[in-house]
């Protein structure tokens, strides 16, 4: 029975997750559009999930903790997306823009 644990070393998977996290971080930091920032955050959450699943598969395949945590992360991501997008729509209605650097009325 071939399995990924023999075919791919764990550090490769972790590096992939790290790279994905960094790409997402770049997106979250550099985008002006708030929806773009949200996209970056989703990428980061996915990277975290890859890590959780990889640790589950390689280190403790008969303990469910890794998969369960990943499911919780997905739940939180869904909630975050719903609230975040609602806020973006509210901001758009009030200010006719979704760019993060133009919503600055609290700036000193």
């Amino acid at each position: 029975m071939p399995s990924i644990t023999e075919a791919v070393p764990l550090p490769w998977v972790l590096t992939l997750a790290g790279a994905l996290f960094c790409v997402g971080l770049f997106g979250a930091l550099s985008r002006r559009n708030t929806v773009g920032i949200l996209l970056g955050i989703e990428l980061m959450l996915n990277a975290v999930n890859i890590n959780l699943v990889a640790f589950w598969r390689y280190l403790e395949p008969n303990v469910v903790a890794g998969q369960t945590f990943a499911l919780f992360v997905i739940t939180v991501a869904a909630a975050e997306a719903a609230v975040g997008l609602a806020m973006i729509i509210a901001i758009y209605r009030a200010r006719q823009t979704v760019n993060a650097d133009e919503v600055d009325s609290l700036r000193g």
């Binding site: 590096t15 994905l20 790409v23 559009n33 773009g36 990428l43 998969q67 739940t75 991501a77």
Partner: protein, 217 residues
């Protein structure tokens, strides 16, 4: 067989990373969302490769089926900001490039590559390794992780109510799209206000477009 899995892993990794890079760099925000979906699919395929069937399908169901469609929906509701003349990146985006690049090359890669992972011994040949599947996850949610499960349920309810409250708009304050007759009346009223002595104006007649006739089947 192992080479096949290695090749598949590399293909999925390439899809994930390439789509992610397109997501954060592409100008048009709808294209960014579509690339994000492609990246989600790649991650789902990676889960399947790691034999996390339930999670792989849940990834497609929740991320691709719900979260991304919500994002597209929000983008479409906040339209006319995706113009190409609009700057998409912040002015000092190169600082934002340095931070993740440094994080990746100085922290993540050295740590991951040099750490000695205590991998469990491979299972004896001919015997499939014990892998927890959907049933074990379900049982865990009802036993060990009951409290987090309930908290997640409350979180989702609160998030749903919160999203409705935040995005809700009073019907009174909504800008209605006027019908043609209402526009004509409104214009007449405004003209009356401008000219105190109103002259009888020719009634504006709305030209009805010829009704499109034709049945589908």
């Amino acid at each position: 067989m192992n080479t096949l899995i290695t090749v598949l892993f590399l293909i999925f990794a390439a899809i994930i990373l390439a789509s992610a890079i397109m997501t954060v760099t592409v100008k048009n925000i709808v294209h960014a969302a579509l690339w994000l979906i492609s990246s989600f699919f790649g991650v789902g395929a990676l889960y399947l490769l790691m034999e996390a069937e339930f999670l792989g399908v849940a990834q497609v169901l929740i991320y691709v089926g719900a979260v991304s469609i919500l994002i597209l929906f929000a983008i479409m509701l906040t339209r006319d900001l995706e113009g190409s003349q609009n700057r998409q990146l912040t002015p000092r985006w190169w600082i934002a490039l340095i931070v993740p690049a440094a994080l990746f090359s100085l922290l993540i890669v050295p740590t991951v590559m040099t750490h000695a992972w205590q991998l469990p011994p491979p299972p004896p040949a001919g015997q499939p390794p014990a892998i927890s599947g959907a049933q074990q996850i379900g049982a865990a949610f009802m036993r060990e992780y009951l409290l987090p499960f309930e908290v997640a349920a409350i979180l989702l309810t609160v998030a749903m109510i919160g999203a409705i409250v935040v995005a809700f708009e009073e019907r009174e304050r909504r800008r209605r799209v006027l019908t043609l007759a209402e526009q004509v009346r409104l214009r007449q009223r405004q003209q009356q206000r401008q000219q105190p002595a109103p002259r009888p104006e020719p009634a504006a007649t709305a030209v009805q477009p010829s009704e499109a006739t034709g049945s589908e089947t």
